[in-house]
Symmetry: D2
Subunit: 174 residues, 4 copies
């Protein structure tokens, strides 16, 4: 009896400054929907912005959502989180979000997302990015081996469906 569920972590900015664009919100919602449609669990940081939109999308399709939150109060999670895991670790919880997904999907994002991408690539987790950081841009001072490594570290996609399709293609190959 092996009951492990497929988990996909969705990362992206938290919108604490209210600047999340409707375009990014729509993509995050669609990513959540696509994950739920395929029966996978959505893991995220449990707060606002991309995290809320993705969890909302997953719940709209009857999915299951987990929020790994920075403070120690489970009620800090957004209302679309089925299981709120309060860590009390502040931004150190970012590593946990990165480690917990079989694949990581990054939608836009700022510095917290950048730390999560760093952790995910350190741990050799597949990262799929939609309008997010691009480690490849920083290559001019690096040698060809590094160039290849960082170029491969984030798989770029344009749409939610393409991203989730690629995530499942990677999971099936494992």
């Amino acid at each position: 009896m092996m009951s492990r569920k497929i988990c996909i972590s969705v990362i992206g900015s938290g919108n604490s400054d209210g600047t999340l664009s409707p375009q990014i919100a729509k993509i995050a919602n669609d990513v959540g929907r696509e994950i739920a449609k395929r029966g996978a669990v959505l893991i995220c940081g449990g707060l606002g912005g991309v995290m809320t939109e993705a969890a909302k999308g997953a719940k709209e399709e009857g999915g299951f959502t987990i929020g790994i939150i920075p403070d120690d109060d489970p009620d800090s999670a957004n209302p679309f989180i089925d299981i709120s895991l309060p860590t009390g670790l502040g931004f150190a919880r970012n590593g946990l979000v990165a480690y917990s997904g079989d694949v990581i999907i990054a939608v836009s994002g700022r510095l917290g997302t950048l730390s999560e991408i760093s952790y995910a690539v350190i741990k050799k987790k597949p990262v799929i990015g939609i309008h997010t950081w691009d480690l490849e841009q920083l290559f001019d001072r690096m040698g060809p081996d590094d160039k290849k490594f960082y170029s491969d570290s984030i798989i770029k996609c344009e749409s939610a469906k393409e991203a989730v399709d690629k995530a499942f293609a990677i999971i099936k190959k494992k």
Copy 2:
């Protein structure tokens, strides 16, 4: 739409030294079963001993299980874990197990369990104990206020069913 599930954390020793008694293993299994029967999610540290027995019991009743594990490899979780959350935090993950339950049920346990009980009581989480540490035993140097506080900090039970019944009685009152 508020979808938060009821979560109960089960803590207890990991049996790395092979000394878990059949009596404690049975209690842990029964605790897992009783949690699953009532539709709550079982959270644990994801490894062996009480954690394996409780998760196994929950799965035998069709429940849902989460393992918050100390290392960064999700495959370190026992086979009865639905969602393995690798933290890479070592024993610092003990706090997360304590914070994540609406109620904590301790079954036996050694030093890791003692740290989890400490964290749970710090955060005012209800702790129900079966054959576990007893903070009340240490009271001789304390004043009457402390005595009352520590005496109330762990609700003692003798059986799995009694423990889970009390857990749900507490959750309903909230």
Copy 3:
């Protein structure tokens, strides 16, 4: 060139509720003084109560102090801390305080101290206790091997000088 300094962690309650007794404050101050007199670095949780008194004592003797604090603002440390290490980890920083000392000296203490003692004993760090938790009290349900283990896990002392003398005797033997 090997420059590692001897470090002693002093743990005990933070006095957030104003109940630290003058007797315990005096012992904590004396522990800090004795550590500084012997040229060791004092590590603590950096906040109030026993942590402030011990750091104050160390500074009064020209010692060196480190505070590993729970929040992310270095200015939260008490004024007797030379180096404030903000962790942003909340109570998860307790493990770091326990791991960082060559020996741990516990002076009184409540639940945070109990978690630190748990972590220290897990990592086989020598723990010296003055008017603090006594794991031995919890032995009635344990077999003789456990009894011996827990009985040896905290070395009981009555005075600051005795505690620091024992700490250095242990360090010299290593």
Copy 4:
């Protein structure tokens, strides 16, 4: 009595794959020397590569060094570390290195360094970079406010002396 020391965190790659160039090693060593000459404490991740070179430089000038290390064994620190703080947190210790410096100096670096830069900028810590990541390169999808923010987030320097001079100029202004 306020005894807080000035602390500068030096971050950069750990050279576990043996690719640290002599040029970067020299810069890291010089950064350590310059910090020590000015009487500040050097904080780093305590391991190899840039961390070893910087700590070595600081000790060669009679400085004081702290290593915040990922595992729980203080002896994992490099031999130029005065105080080894074992965290047992794995890469989650990166946040602590970033939070602990009054200023952060990044020398080259890979993914761990990128996570540390992310944390430092989140916490509004001044970051000085020598041949390191450049958040500004990632700006094409961002608006002018973001462009300005990220452009200012890392102060670029070419030499160790310039970097440490700028660090102290920032510290004096506070």
